[in-house]
């Protein structure tokens, strides 16, 4: 049996007005007052300026120290490496994303219940440490580097990728523990934030150029599949669109809106 969906004869008003938001790649940018050449020059200039400003390699972290950030860059890239599938964490600006997230209420731990007393229990009962994400990073990266110095005589960032993977496995498997922070807890935090940074809207500083979405075949903020409910297994044909930058209230310093 096939059901009989009704396709509306015309797109709804919401769907129409919504198009105005979409930052399409082929959007018209010309103004009739400017010559084509002048327009092109102006476009190039703003593009270059924006590029320099947005270059993930030039990003100066606000939360992480330079050494912590160097760790983060290398660890994220091992978790989500560049390969034949596409860009890795570095190219996607994941470390920048994580640094920006640290400056939100989430980073400060305001989204978690962090009231004392703090106890220990089986893993099924969930996270029980007194720290928010900021503190988890701050209290763990340095001891990991110390561990690397003692074991390999070099900081994490300077190890071979094989050695870096070894350390990450030891964290994931809970072999390492740093004071009250089990390696596995830190690893989960790092893995979670890395994958978030690879696939969150570019607005938050990661998923640079929507590279994560392109790799997955995810069309981003399109959110309209009226004609694509069932195309018999064909791949969705349109590339991704991101959110316009003017939704700033929910931008990098997001989530204040829901807190009082």
């Amino acid at each position: 049996m096939t059901s009989s969906p009704s396709h509306p004869t015309a797109p709804s008003r919401t769907a129409l007005s919504r198009r105005g938001f979409i930052r399409g790649t082929g959007a018209l940018s010309g103004s009739s007052l400017l010559s084509h050449a002048a327009q092109a020059r102006a476009d190039l200039k703003t593009q270059q300026a924006r590029k320099a400003e947005n270059d993930p390699a030039r990003y100066v972290p606000r939360f992480f120290t330079a050494e912590e950030y160097r760790f983060l860059c290398h660890a994220c890239e091992r978790i989500f490496p560049e390969d034949e599938n596409g860009p890795g964490a570095l190219a996607l600006a994941v470390p920048r994303f994580i640094d920006k997230q640290m400056q939100t209420p989430y980073g400060q731990g305001d989204l978690w219940y962090l009231h004392p007393p703090f106890g220990n229990g089986p893993p099924e009962l969930g996270y029980q440490l007194p720290y928010g994400p900021q503190e988890l990073y701050r209290r763990t990266i340095e001891p990991i580097n110390t561990h690397c110095l003692m074991t390999y005589n070099a900081l994490f960032a300077d190890l071979t990728t094989t050695q870096q993977d070894e350390v990450l496995h030891k964290l994931e498997d809970g072999v390492l523990q740093f004071n009250d922070i089990p390696g596995a807890v830190f690893f989960e935090q790092l893995r979670t934030n890395t994958l978030e940074g690879a696939f969150a809207d570019p607005l938050y500083g990661g998923n640079d150029a929507m590279g994560g979405w392109k790799m997955m075949g995810f069309p981003g903020a399109r959110a309209d599949f009226m004609d694509w409910v069932n195309q018999q297994g064909a791949p969705y044909p349109l590339g991704p669109v991101g959110m316009p930058p003017n939704v700033a209230p929910y931008g990098p310093d997001a989530l204040h809106d829901e807190e009082d």
Partner: protein, 597 residues
């Protein structure tokens, strides 16, 4: 604290919580001519503001940072698996996601909108009749609701019309339609809207399930398949399968929510007042402790404590908070698992769900981001009353379905790998992308029975931001439900093969496996203030009226004696309409207990 106390005018009715249950009660009781004030702890939410595109479809902000859910920093609960353990706080939202703010979880639910099977409402009686008393395991608190499917039918129907539910009837007034779920009980009317279209994944499941000999049907969905105006004059637009139901508010006015389907009508009624940022701490009682006089709450905008009086109090703060407020208010005897006496917190249940995965050939793209929250194709062959439980060896049942509701990439990436497969690195990345493009999931969404040592009470140690003891949950999986889940999952294997799977990962509960609060299951929590026919084993009567305090009605899945195979909200809404009907037609004419104990 006290510089802002303007005693408000006394309404006739106070409603605690502005979700589905509260909004339905508010609509019904204002229609009855009463002045109703609804108190909601969270902010107001409207499609035009919080639901506006594109902010509403931001995965990081939505399902990942959980902007619409309960603010744990203020109040949470503690969890343990067994009564001998020390329960620990639920510090990060994961297994279940209670709502907060106007609309409650009804704003960010998916929209799977079911009734019940005919048997589930009298499960104890049916089980005894068919399989004998001894078939009920020791320690299982199997009970009847005290209300029958036939009695609730008009209210299921009413809720579907208010929600604009899309589906296909099987039998209407005794006439078979030739479609729909052949196991579904008779209905007084069709669904108000035709079923949603099948996604590619759902269409494969429909075909394969038929080939294997099962009976697939379109899942009833409160996602509008066409433009719709409900009986309250509230309008819905057609769903475009954007995939942002679960965890989000629908930007297209297509998913039913209290905000879209009830409140627009209610807000125009002068008898109705909504107070947001009002955290209710206690239901106040008269000296005789048999009459509620009103509530005590904190106005979060001024941090000042207020009291408000009313003749009738409706507690509809969601299952967990209904139980919590009954306990903090000292209404009804708290359940004690040792003596097995008391009722508040008794029969706490959940949903026994596992997801299995099916990979298709690389030529097939499942486009998992396409979907509607309530849409899909299901079979009831392991859930319907006719299944021989004596042979199968369990009580309960489990629908099986492909409910491709829109999987976004962060969630897809986080949940990929594990169970022996890498969770990071190159091999993970390759497998994860392949899984996103070419696989689909099939869920076994089963019932969950009630047990002597599974319950809710107050935690002795941890407190919420208002200084109250938090709720304590004692919960784990039990043999009967694990057997039921495993039985259902076996059948998924058959269907997956018929779908032409290149790889199948069946996932079922394992004996001895504890409930894991770190993994999302569902927010289908039930019981703790259950309805029934005996005040020794239930907290509210069949009209959801407190046995102890007759001007208090407790509405929500807290009333379910055990968990359903289906999702709960269809029954929550029907019970709210049922209760409201009897308040309007019986209670208001003659206030007092509607059932003599």
């Amino acid at each position: 604290m006290t510089d802002h106390v303007t005693p408000p005018k006394k309404p006739d009715v106070l409603i605690i919580g502005a979700g589905w249950a509260g909004s339905i009660m508010a609509k019904e009781l204002t229609e009855a001519g009463l002045h109703v004030t609804m108190l909601e702890r969270g902010h107001d939410h409207s499609t035009a503001v919080e639901g506006a595109y594109p902010e509403s479809i931001d995965e990081l902000r939505g399902a990942i940072r959980k902007r619409l859910f309960q603010k744990l920093a203020r109040t949470s609960l503690t969890i343990r698996n067994h009564p001998t353990q020390t329960a620990l706080p639920y510090r990060q939202l994961a297994a279940f996601l209670p709502g907060e703010g106007v609309g409650g979880a009804g704003l960010h639910w998916s929209g799977c909108h079911f009734r019940t099977t005919e048997d589930e409402l009298r499960l104890r009686s049916v089980t005894q009749e068919r399989y004998g008393r001894n078939f009920i395991p020791d320690g299982m608190f199997l009970q009847d609701y005290g209300v029958s499917y036939q009695e609730l039918e008009p209210f299921f129907d009413k809720a579907e019309k208010v929600f604009g539910t899309a589906g296909e009837a099987s039998s209407v007034r005794g006439q078979a339609t030739g479609g729909g779920n052949i196991f579904a009980p008779d209905r007084s009317d069709h669904f108000p809207l035709p079923p949603l279209a099948d996604t590619f994944s759902a269409s494969l499941f429909r075909k394969a399930a038929t080939e294997v000999g099962f009976h697939p049907y379109s899942m009833p969905a409160a996602n509008a398949s066409q433009p719709y105006t409900n009986p309250y004059g509230c309008q819905m637009g057609p769903c475009n399968f954007c995939g942002y139901c679960s965890g989000y508010d629908c930007y297209l006015y297509s998913k039913a929510s209290p905000n879209v389907n009830i409140l627009p009508a209610l807000r125009q009624d002068k008898r109705f007042t909504l107070i947001t940022q009002a955290q209710v701490l206690e239901i106040l009682l008269d000296d005789d402790r048999k009459t509620a006089t009103g509530v005590r709450y904190i106005d979060l905008t001024t941090q000042s404590e207020q009291t408000m009086q009313a003749d009738l109090v409706i507690l509809s703060a969601f299952q967990l908070h209904n139980v919590h407020l009954m306990l903090t208010s000292g209404i009804g005897q708290p359940y004690d698992p040792v003596t097995q006496t008391g009722v508040i917190g008794r029969n706490f249940t959940y949903q026994t769900i596992t997801s299995s995965r099916v990979w298709l050939p690389k030529t097939h793209f499942t486009n998992q981001f396409v979907g509607a929250g309530g849409g899909g194709v299901a079979i009831d062959d392991i859930n319907h009353p006719g299944l021989d439980r004596g042979k199968a060896g369990f009580i309960g049942g489990s629908p099986i379905w492909v409910n491709q509701a829109g999987t976004k990439p962060i969630n897809a990436a986080l949940s990929s790998g594990g169970k022996g497969a890498p969770r990071w690195g190159h091999a993970y990345k390759t497998a994860m992308i392949d899984q996103y493009r070419h696989s689909l999931s099939i869920d076994a969404h089963g019932s969950n029975m009630a047990y002597r040592d599974v319950y809710l009470d107050l935690d002795p140690t941890w407190r919420n931001a208002y200084g109250q003891p938090m709720l304590r949950m004692t919960f784990t999986w039990k043999e009967n439900d694990i057997r039921m889940n495993q039985y259902a999952v076996q059948h998924i294997g058959q269907i997956a093969k018929a779908m032409g799977a290149t790889k199948i990962a069946l996932n079922s509960l394992q004996h001895g496996q504890n409930f894991d609060s770190r993994l999302y299951q569902t927010t289908h929590l039930n019981g703790g203030v259950i309805m029934g026919e005996n005040p020794k084993t239930s907290a509210v009567n069949r009209y959801l009226q407190s046995w102890d305090v007759s001007n208090l009605f407790v509405i929500g899945s807290s009333a379910f004696p055990q968990g359903l195979g289906y999702n709960p909200t269809g029954l929550v809404a029907a019970l709210a309409y049922w209760s409201a009907y009897h308040i309007r037609h019986t209670y208001l004419r003659n206030p007092g207990p509607m059932v003599t104990a």
